[in-house]
Symmetry: C2
Subunit: 322 residues, 2 copies
């Protein structure tokens, strides 16, 4: 089969044998995959990754010991958990210390014609969700995770920092859940995408961002930069919460005295459950089409990865059928 391989900080196309699913795993044929910033970070060598990347996908089940799965169109939870540890027993397989992670940690990813996943990771995609939306299941689940970690008073106004893919999804999820949302970003075109939902947007100047001080009880940092965290600290009120949503490869310097004096809570947030995400997708309330900047044949994945790194580009998709 055709697959993308990252090795020594470079991506290439390879021909490799179709994966053979282990017991309890299903064989999936890719329908569509999405490129995430994490894939770009793997490509840049931040985590010494070598292998097939890709963890945002929609696929058809083509082989499974359990016949009920065969032919189903699925999304898949990306953490492959042991099922036995204290985290797994609490339903927190996403934190299983023995886990592998699809396309990230020791399990070949979705940028390939075929992939495997444990059947318990599969979630059937309702038929009225098109592939182009289903491929967002994983990042929307990551946005929904915030709602499981933070309790919002009903009249809360939340600031979301960052108008990248994740910031645009987070702003939408919080808005659809009834919160007032102010989205801060640097790109007027990206900001305007979500305005029809009633999200207020704030354009920041690149050189002298003017941010209101101590203005929000909750600030979500989805900038993917250390400076974003500093802006979040400026924006948040005493006793407020900053959700750290974007992986930042560089270390962050925290003014601990400021966090302590103002009793700020900093909450790290990563993957979420797929069920709330699929429910949201089924509701068709999210604006997703303008988030798709490109769609490449799988065989042109190296060009797609180039494209995904250009300024102003949002989601780039890989389509094995093209």
């Amino acid at each position: 089969m055709l697959a993308v391989k990252i090795s020594s900080g470079a991506a290439s196309m390879i021909k490799t044998s179709k994966p053979r699913p282990r017991a309890g795993h299903a064989l999936l044929r890719l329908r569509l995959a999405g490129i995430c910033n994490t894939d770009i970070e793997l490509l840049r060598g931040y985590y010494g990754f070598s292998g097939i990347p890709g963890h945002e996908f929609v696929a058809d089940v083509v082989d499974s010991a359990n016949p009920k799965w065969i032919g189903k169109r699925v999304a898949g939870e990306i953490n492959l958990a042991c099922g036995k540890c204290e985290y797994c027993l609490q339903g927190l397989g996403r934190h299983c210390p023995n886990r592998t992670v699809l396309g990230i940690v020791k399990h070949p990813g979705a940028f390939a014609e075929y992939l495997t996943l444990p059947e318990e990771n599969l979630r059937v995609v309702p038929k009225d969700i098109p592939d182009e939306h289903a491929v967002f299941t994983e990042p929307i689940a990551a946005a929904c995770e915030i709602l499981e970690q933070v309790r919002f008073a009903p009249d809360t106004t939340v600031a979301v920092l960052g108008d990248g893919k994740l910031g645009l999804l987070i702003a939408q999820v919080l808005r659809i859940k009834g919160l007032a949302v102010h989205l801060y970003g640097r790109n007027p075109g990206k900001l305007s995408i979500v305005e029809p939902l009633g999200i207020k947007t704030r354009l920041l100047s690149r050189h002298e961002p003017k941010l209101p001080k101590a203005a929000y009880t909750c600030v979500i940092d989805a900038t993917g930069s250390a400076i974003g965290f500093e802006h979040a600290l400026d924006l948040v009120k005493p006793r407020g919460t900053i959700v750290m949503k974007s992986t930042v490869a560089e270390p962050i310097h925290i003014d601990a005295a400021r966090c302590i004096v103002n009793e700020i809570s900093l909450i790290g947030s990563r993957c979420g459950r797929f069920e709330p995400s699929l429910r949201l997708l089924k509701s068709r309330k999210l604006i997703l089409d303008p988030l798709i900047s490109g769609r490449f044949p799988l065989r042109e994945a190296t060009s797609a990865l180039e494209q995904a790194q250009q300024p102003g580009v949002l989601k780039v998709l890989l389509d094995p059928s093209l």
Copy 2:
């Protein structure tokens, strides 16, 4: 009156006029004051402080427009709030942006024969609490604050890092509230003080501290050092909470990716309400006498401040009656 003055990073005794209380403020005569690490930091010039320090005290009300206060023995909340802003209206005057702070920010402190405070800041000390315990009201309130910020499952085991004054109080408060507590520190004598309460203690070697990895759902950092925060990150489980309890003058470098991947919550924690603290003091369950390392006449406060900075020394008291 006699008072301590800090100026340009040095403490001296001064003779100054007795303060004249503003409308709504009471005049208090000091019975006993305690030296806090914050006072040492003010002395070291970390915050450019100039004035009379001191915020841990017990005193008698000697003048007030409201006769019900006169003659009362009181402790006093240290934040002088405006009473009108959104924080004050939520009962969070401790975060009032217009506040002054007794002995810390623009309001003369308790290391003096007399001090003033708004009457709404005063709390009557029940008569069965001796002065030597009442003087701990403020730091015990700071320990109790953790219970207002973090929800603990009943069977939680909490790790407290740091066997200084605050760490010893936090460990006791959490233990008395029914939690299992493991206290980590470097001083066997200090650790042993709280063992009668059923607190398990762990002696750390100074050079090669051996800490269990990902062992606690909640870790309280009361070390007052950046390395303490790193130890807390080692100790805390995925999805766990680190309470940042001690002001650290140096900036902390956070491995943000680690906090995000493991979805750690970092919670800054400062002052607390006095009521739960006074209730605890009245219960007589806290072990406080061994925490008192010295008691100096107020006029010898500069020696007391020297003493408070010596290794192994815990609370040093200032007594105007000696």
